[in-house]
């Protein structure tokens, strides 16, 4: 059985997701010691702008993503609106070169060997259903259910799957949901029509479970730790990260927090890029 990690990277005008993916891949190599594949619509950019680092990837798979959604990308208190491409993830079942694949976002920074367990356990689909906001005080209810009237929330940020028939059905189902997104937005009472992989995965898991809370998806047995794009990464050395975290009731004030041996979803991509570029 082949094993590896897949990272998606689809650049927009402001954010070099490829550069983020290179950094995330370096962390994978350090802590998980596994081959890494990048799936990107920016292969030329990778080979030109990052030619010295592209060898971190054991394979490069090019895709086209013509989606044109936009969203606000915060960097602490300021933000820019830019395009957001996330329409290709359901294809990972067919695109992944591995029999057993861990998929991570390019802004998911691994600082421990925790996720190694995925390849040493019998469940064929693992995903996070619990989260830990490093700020500690913020309302996390939006990550418990996809809307308060609706179903349980799962994070498409990190998941593990084995190639089998059932998982193929699952990813085909996600494609179907994506193709009929507005219908599912109404059916599941989502508050925004923007396509989100988290929501599509959550709906597909619910359907695979027979519309009850059941066991198609096995929860990864800890919490997905994250900082929002309102928080700022200020240092990353080895397995330690330092953040300025938004203070409660004070949107433009911050408190310093450090983590160690903790894998973290760093949603503030601008601050992550500054750390990567050492600026």
């Amino acid at each position: 059985m082949t094993k590896g990690v897949v990272i998606f990277a689809q650049n927009n005008k402001e954010i070099d997701y490829v550069e983020l993916a290179i950094y995330a891949a370096q962390q994978v190599k350090t802590y998980l010691s596994l081959p890494v594949t990048i799936i990107t619509d920016s292969k030329n950019w990778l080979e030109k702008a990052h030619s010295d680092k592209s060898s971190i990837f054991d394979s490069i798979i090019e895709v086209k993503d013509n989606s044109h959604q936009s969203k606000k990308f915060y960097d602490g208190i300021s933000y820019k609106t830019d395009s957001w491409k996330n329409f290709t993830r359901f294809n990972v079942f067919h695109l992944s070169p591995y029999d057993e694949t861990l998929v991570i976002d390019s802004d998911y920074i691994i600082n421990s060997n925790f996720l190694k367990f995925c390849w040493d356990q019998p469940q064929d689909f693992l995903i996070y259903d619990k989260n830990f906001d490093i700020a500690g005080w913020r309302d996390t209810s939006e990550f418990e259910f996809i809307s308060e009237y609706s179903i349980k929330f799962y994070w498409a940020t990190v998941f593990f799957f084995r190639k089998n028939k059932l998982n193929e059905c699952f990813f085909n189902l996600i494609e179907h949901i994506k193709s009929n997104w507005i219908y599912y937005v109404k059916l599941y009472r989502l508050t925004s029509t923007k396509f989100r992989n988290d929501y599509a995965f959550s709906i597909a898991i619910h359907m695979m479970n027979g519309f009850i809370d059941d066991s198609f998806a096995t929860p990864i047995p800890n919490k997905l730790s994250y900082v929002l794009d309102r928080d700022i990464l200020i240092e990353h050395k080895n397995n330690k990260m330092k953040f300025l975290i938004q203070k409660q009731n004070k949107g433009d004030d911050f408190i310093a927090v450090s983590t160690r041996d903790l894998d973290v979803h760093v949603m503030n991509k601008h601050s992550l890029l500054r750390i990567i570029r050492n600026v």
Binding site: S150, I151, L187, H206, F211, D213
Partner: protein, 273 residues
């Protein structure tokens, strides 16, 4: 020993007979142990009668003539039922999957009241929005909506307490509901007081979720904004005898609580499965 499902229904502005018919239909379709008894003084439409093995008059006089909610005769159920072992239901319920297995869990008990109720997502309800009288007065937190009894001395004693409390509810409420008063007569409160007076909470409940039901009152669904009726917040769909609410497949006993849920379309679907 004979076993059966029992409902007491008296029409008012609400058509409780049709609700009982819908419930009995689902019991007939889903259960092997499916004898039913309707206790009523109302005329039962001919087309409904095939789902009731027994249609029994309310014993003695009708104590609910003046009442809209029609609960004053509930204490008579034990006197009217033809069964030795009984599962008694509110009429605004549907049986969505068999509860035949309940009888095995309940057979060693005399009376069992419901303590496990769930929301449509399958989470146990702990919110006491509609039960402040019970919780603030530290009364046993039991639901009368579904209960079991075996026709024996202990069950008769329980029902006798229900009679005394129901017939004198204002006096009982004045005396025993000190911390949170209640003006209207409630069978949940009456049953709770009866359990308290008999000091029988452990005897009259189980640690298992049997009996249990899904309770659809709007304000106990953990919504930040609760509409008056739950149907205003979530879509429900009954198709091929499977009911989904907010895209959650429902099973067990579904206590829909809103009378307008039981439309002719829903009734037709239940009939035609």
């Amino acid at each position: 020993m004979s076993k059966g499902h029992v409902f007491l229904a008296q029409n008012s502005e609400t058509d409780y007979i049709t609700q009982a018919y819908a419930l009995a239909l689902t019991i007939k379709k889903k259960n092997k142990i499916n004898q039913t008894c309707l206790i009523t003084n109302d005329a039962v439409p001919l087309g409904y009668k095939h789902v009731f093995d027994y249609i029994v008059d309310i014993p003695w006089q009708d104590d609910a003539i003046q009442s809209q909610w029609k609960i004053e005769n509930r204490w008579k159920i034990i006197h009217a039922t033809p069964f030795k072992e009984n599962l008694v239901y509110d009429t605004d319920m549907l049986l969505l999957s068999s509860n035949d297995h309940w009888w095995n869990f309940l057979q060693n008990k005399d009376v069992v009241l419901t303590t496990s109720v769930f929301d449509y997502k399958g989470r146990k309800i702990t919110n006491d929005h509609y039960r402040k009288t019970i919780t603030k007065n530290n009364l046993p937190n039991v639901y009368f909506g579904i209960h079991y009894f075996k026709k024996n001395r202990i069950a008769f004693e329980f029902y006798q307490w229900l009679r005394v409390i129901t017939e004198n509810y204002q006096d009982f409420y004045d005396k025993f509901l000190i911390k949170e008063k209640q003006k209207f007569c409630s069978m949940d409160v009456n049953a709770s007081l009866a359990v308290q007076f008999m000091n029988s909470f452990d005897e009259f409940t189980t640690t298992l979720p049997v009996p249990a039901f899904t309770h659809m009152k709007s304000k106990i669904q953990r919504w930040s904004k609760s509409p008056i009726q739950w149907q205003q917040a979530v879509i429900s769909n009954l198709c091929n005898n499977q009911l989904t609410v907010g895209n959650y497949l429902q099973s067990g006993i579904f206590h829909y609580t809103e009378d307008n849920f039981l439309t002719q379309d829903i009734l037709d679907q239940i009939k035609n499965v």
